[in-house]
């Protein structure tokens, strides 16, 4: 359906509203806003541009087909798309059927990813926080996040005790949270 043009400065809510009303321009606006986040996380996980593009396609088409999957009252769109993209990429990496029902994914923290400037600032902050972490902690977190490894797998790879891996992963996530809480 060809609807009215959706401007780039619209809020996520307005973009979603356009998508829900079947407006293809809403999908174009959504893509322009979040395709880089979705694609980059998929690429980092999969290490393959074609496979990452497939995840990108799949995530956006799912939202087009079922925009009700995202509940705007329970989080913001950008982080939600990032979490879904990572889940799908990990599923692809492990060549398994999707383990997570998208409708069940709720992301309650709301880092602002809607604007280019906000995304750039958030990106710098995340990179700074990760860079400030002890390398073992960052490594455990990245293995869990980008490789989709379980704590026992990380423990086996690194030779660190299970409890230590658990602690490091949680501490790493809390460090990111703290960085955005100030």
């Amino acid at each position: 359906m060809a609807g009215t043009e959706v401007k780039g400065d619209l809020t996520d809510a307005a973009v979603l509203s356009a998508i829900r009303s079947g407006d293809e321009n809403g999908m174009a606006a959504l893509y322009d806003r979040y395709s880089a986040v979705v694609y980059s996380v998929a690429l980092r996980v999969l290490g393959d541009a074609g496979a990452a593009e497939d995840v990108l396609q799949e995530v956006f088409m799912q939202l087009w087909r079922r925009p009700g999957l995202f509940d705007s009252s329970r989080g913001s769109l950008g982080p939600w798309l990032a979490v879904i993209a990572r889940h799908r990429a990990i599923d692809g990496l492990r060549k398994r059927r999707p383990e997570t029902d998208i409708a069940d994914v709720v992301v309650s923290v709301e880092p602002d990813m809607a604007g280019d400037a906000e995304r750039a600032r958030a990106m710098e902050k995340v990179r700074g926080t990760l860079g400030a972490m002890p390398s073992a902690q960052r490594q455990a977190l990245e293995m869990a996040y980008f490789e989709g490894l379980s704590h026992s797998e990380i423990s086996a790879k690194t030779g660190e005790p299970l409890g230590t891996i658990k602690t490091r992963i949680r501490a790493g996530l809390l460090a990111l949270r703290k960085a955005f809480a100030t």
Binding site: M1, S17, R20, S21, G22, E24, M27, A28, Y31, D32, A36, V37, Y39, S40, V41, L43, E53, L56, Q57, M61, W64, R65, P67, G68, R74, G75, G78, P79, A82, V83, R86, H87, V107, S108, V109, E110, P111, M113, A122, M123, V126, R127, L130, L141, E142, A144, Y145, F146, G148, S150, H151, E153, I154, K166, T167, I169, R170, L173, L176, R177
Partner: protein, 254 residues
Amino acid sequence: MSMHEQFAEDLALHALGGLEGEERVALEKHLKGCAGCRGELERLRGDMALMALSAAGPVPPRRARQRLLEAVAREPRAVTATARGGWWTLVPWVAAVAFGLGLVVLWLQNSDLQQRIAGLQSASAQQSAELQRAREVVSTLTATDAMRVTLVAAKTPPQPEGKAIYVRDRSSLIFLASNFQALPAQKAYELWLIPTNGAAIPAGVFKPDAHGSATVINPPLPAGVGAKAFAITIEPESGSTAPTMPIVMMGAGE
């Protein structure tokens, strides 16, 4: 509500999808009943989303946008439920229409029932009136204190007389007797219906009163039997299944 500290590390792993086996089962069971831990899981997912930004930089190839929009165009979607408020917003309208239709149906049924009730009341009143008249007729015919007078030609002594009134379609028979002679004990008169075909059918046993009068009202008879005559014989008090000769009185229909 705060989370349970003993699940803190497992929650982080679960958000990442890295919790397995019994630990995962136990946590998921706990999450069903713990809002505090569910809230923490949602916050950890937010933290995870931040991790995605650390990978930011690469952009999808230009063709990816076109590919997506072409796929979107191939799947034109009817306006979703959410966009227009959902199918459930139609529920009140559907309910209102259904309610209205229901009222019309009920009104029509009510009118029909009222008409039928009025018809039944009218029929009932008519039947009551007819029943009352029939009761009066029967009461008069069968009253023991009724004066029964048979008129005959002047200077002619009273003769025994029987009058049978028979309606075949209703198998209804009324017989009036007058001036009948008294009978010995254990004897009675018996009325017979002589059908157009076949043997005589018993049509009631009677004994005249002191004035020689008697009535037989609707004795049990087979349905729809045509009668060519009626006859009377003298039988035992209990009656007979076949007439005992001689026939003391007989009359054919007009």
